[in-house]
């Protein structure tokens, strides 16, 4: 599957490049950030990823992401579809005046805008505070174990670059 990457010097794809993983994985448990479970998969070319996937640190990041994104997605999709159904099925209710020219329909429509802005802010804040630092640690752990190395990973995609902006 990775053959399309031939000649793309700038691409980091681990799966089609078994050598670094195989030769360096036994050292994995010695790394400070390295997850400690799943060492039996060490002979597997993609062993590092499976190991990280089973680690408590990764499960924590995944749990925090899904714990926020999934319920909130269900909630806002439900709120949007409910709004659509109300607008098409109950126009009389929507037409009830609230204050001046403002009626229920206007309030609900502007409410959709307001919740979109609010959820955007909440998601960005949650990700920045609860997920980014841990995800970055894991990223370094994977980079070290697969010998992408700090030099390579740091040189290509400096994670700190954004902070300067």
């Amino acid at each position: 599957m990775e053959k399309d990457d031939e000649g793309d010097a700038g691409t980091v794809r681990l799966k089609g490049d078994p050598t670094p993983c195989e030769s360096h994985e036994p050292q994995a448990s010695g790394e400070p950030h390295a997850p400690h479970e799943g060492r039996e998969a060490a002979r597997d070319p993609s062993g590092v990823y499976r190991e990280v996937q089973r680690s408590a640190a990764f499960r924590e990041v995944r749990g925090r992401y899904r714990g926020f994104a999934f319920p909130v997605t269900v909630a806002f999709l439900g709120w949007y579809l409910g709004y659509l159904v109300l607008a098409t099925a109950a126009p009389q209710l929507m037409a009830r005046p609230v204050a001046g020219a403002i009626n229920v329909a206007m309030l609900l429509g502007l409410g959709q805008f307001a919740t979109t802005f609010l959820l955007t802010w909440a998601y960005a804040r949650h990700a920045r505070l609860r997920r980014d630092p841990e995800a970055l640690e894991l990223r370094w752990a994977v980079a070290l174990e697969t010998q992408q190395g700090p030099a390579r990973a740091g040189g290509r995609v400096p994670p700190m670059r954004e902070e300067a902006r």
């Binding site: 070319p45 992401y65 403002i102």
Partner: protein, 531 residues
């Protein structure tokens, strides 16, 4: 619309064409050749730049002129579009942007290949991406033709034809000369122009009503001829149950389709990290949300200032509501202010069309060269060298196809075509993308079934819909095979896409690739090994 309008508007159009071509030439001068440069613009755009570019890619002339026009004609029902187009971005932000940045390289197929990697999956995703892009492109071309004909006064066929050909030639030039770098800067310039123009007009409307929104709405209701009903849903979509279901189908397609649009997905490859992708979406939600709020003011403003009858008299679809409003706010026909504002609005609409078609053409050529051609050339034993050259050729072919279809489809409704593109994206691209990102047991067969299981029903239902046959407004008015009552297939085809992916996975003979899933999941959430 008099000769001075046209003269000034044409002058501004020329300025836009010169500036955008200069951007393309400048961008093409820098580092030619690598796919990283051509498809992703070097991956080093800042979140703010990419946020503006996403907004520029997304806010089409159909939104600027079409939604305001719908509100001017039908009041509240026009607003329902704005809401759907904005809420869709929460799907992109929560479920797609960061993970796609981490897993993907350029196209949708790259994300799927991160864990499935069979040529079949790449081909399927390539076919559906090209289909979505071409439908969306035709919608924009048809819109450009009728819009320019209206704005320039010449409603004849010749103005439309030359606009379609001219826009097609320009978009091919931008993409072949400057790739993603040029496209991105053109979109940024366009987003700034569009936001500037919209803010100026909104401010003028609010000044006219002394900042009193309630007075604006009341006047709009009075002058619409519908009274209070103008401010409540039901004027456009309140007919029989078919019409109401059709609207829910459209709403579903809008909110789920955005996250499956190839030209939106490819924008996340232009920033260095997932965090930057997230921050670009936050920027774009701010811009797009602000923009749609202002189109609501402009729509009700057009009804209040001009009156709904005057808007309808100028154009039955309402597309000229905003230009006419600009003319009035500037001081009326014949005044200097009116002439200038009118020309500015026309120029902004023109820039908008150019930026959107450039983005879609690039995404389409990336799918052809990176997914379809690359799969084919691997099978025949040739390398993937010269992929960028293929992408440039693909852009020319895409442009030619879009011009051809754009000329053939001149009489199709633009809103229908846009809704169709969103419905196909929501049915064929979104289910496979979400399954690949979140479902551990998802298999290659599931992926292939999911793409075709959404794509084929979406297209088939359109062919069987009243748009194609059975009525006076249909493509083939003489024939009658409209077995499916809805114009938008989303309500049926989106669930079918999800169902097909699920069934395909359950019936797979081989289990899911656990190692591939581990790699994809870890990469998607941590950014390890990201391109």
């Amino acid at each position: 619309m008099t000769g001075t309008h046209q003269g000034l508007a044409l002058g501004l159009f020329s300025v836009i064409v010169v500036v955008t071509l200069a951007i393309s030439a400048w961008a093409g001068r820098v580092r030619r050749g690598s796919p990283e440069e051509f498809y992703a613009g070097g991956r080093m755009f800042s979140p703010m730049e990419n946020g503006f570019a996403i907004a520029g890619d997304y806010m089409s002339a159909a939104s600027f002129l079409g939604i305001s026009g719908l509100i001017a004609l039908y009041g509240y029902d026009g607003m329902l579009y704005s809401v759907g187009f904005l809420v869709a971005w929460l799907v992109v932000l929560f479920l797609v942007a960061e993970l796609v940045r981490n897993c993907g390289r350029f196209t949708l197929a790259d994300v799927l290949a991160a864990r499935m990697g069979e040529p079949r999956v790449r081909t399927a995703a390539g076919i559906s991406s090209v289909t979505v892009s071409v439908v969306y492109l035709v919608a924009q071309m048809v819109g450009a033709g009728s819009l320019m004909a209206l704005l320039l006064g010449g409603t004849g066929g010749r103005a439309r034809t030359w606009t379609v050909i001219g826009v097609g030639a320009l978009m091919v030039l931008y993409v072949t000369l400057g790739g993603m770098r040029a496209t991105t800067w053109i979109q940024i310039v366009k987003a700034v122009l569009l936001m500037g123009g919209t803010i100026a007009l909104t401010t003028l409307v609010l000044i006219r009503f002394h900042g009193d929104i309630s007075a604006l709405l009341t006047t709009a209701a009075d002058r619409s001829g519908h009274g209070r009903n103008f401010l409540a849903p039901g004027l456009k979509y309140g007919g029989d149950w078919t019409a109401r279901l059709d609207f829910i189908s459209l709403g579903l397609a809008l909110v789920l389709g955005t996250a499956g649009l190839p030209h939106i997905l490819s924008r996340f490859s232009t920033v260095p990290t997932a965090r930057a992708a997230r921050r670009s979406v936050v920027w774009s939600i701010g811009l797009i949300g602000g923009f749609y709020l202002m189109t609501i003011v402009l729509g009700f403003g057009a009804a209040a200032v001009l009156g709904t009858d005057a808007v309808r008299a100028s154009s039955p679809s309402g597309n000229t509501a905003v230009p006419l409003l600009a003319l009035d706010l500037g001081g009326g026909a014949g005044s200097t202010g009116g002439t200038i504002l009118f020309a500015v609005v026309a120029a902004v609409a023109f820039a908008t069309i150019l930026a959107v078609v450039a983005g879609v053409t690039l995404a389409s050529s990336a799918s052809v060269a990176h997914d379809l051609y690359a799969t084919l050339s691997r099978r025949t034993g040739r390398g993937a060298r010269g992929e960028v050259a293929v992408a440039r050729v693909a852009a020319v072919v895409t442009g030619a196809v879009a011009i051809g279809l754009g000329l053939l489809a001149q009489n199709l409704n633009v809103a229908f075509l846009v809704g169709l593109a969103f419905a196909v994206a929501a049915s064929a691209n979104l289910p496979v993308l979400l399954y690949a990102l979140f479902w551990r047991r998802f298999t290659t067969r599931g992926a292939v079934w999911s793409v075709y299981g959404g794509l084929v029903p979406a297209l088939a239902l359109v062919v069987l819909s009243p748009v194609v046959s059975g009525g006076p407004g249909a493509v083939f008015p003489g024939l009658d095979f409209d077995l499916f009552p809805l114009e938008n297939p989303g309500l049926v085809s989106v669930p079918l896409g999800f169902l097909a992916g699920w069934l395909g996975t359950l019936t797979s003979s081989e289990p899911a690739d656990e190692a591939g899933h581990a790699e994809a999941e870890v990469r998607s959430l941590t950014g390890a090994g990201a391109a």
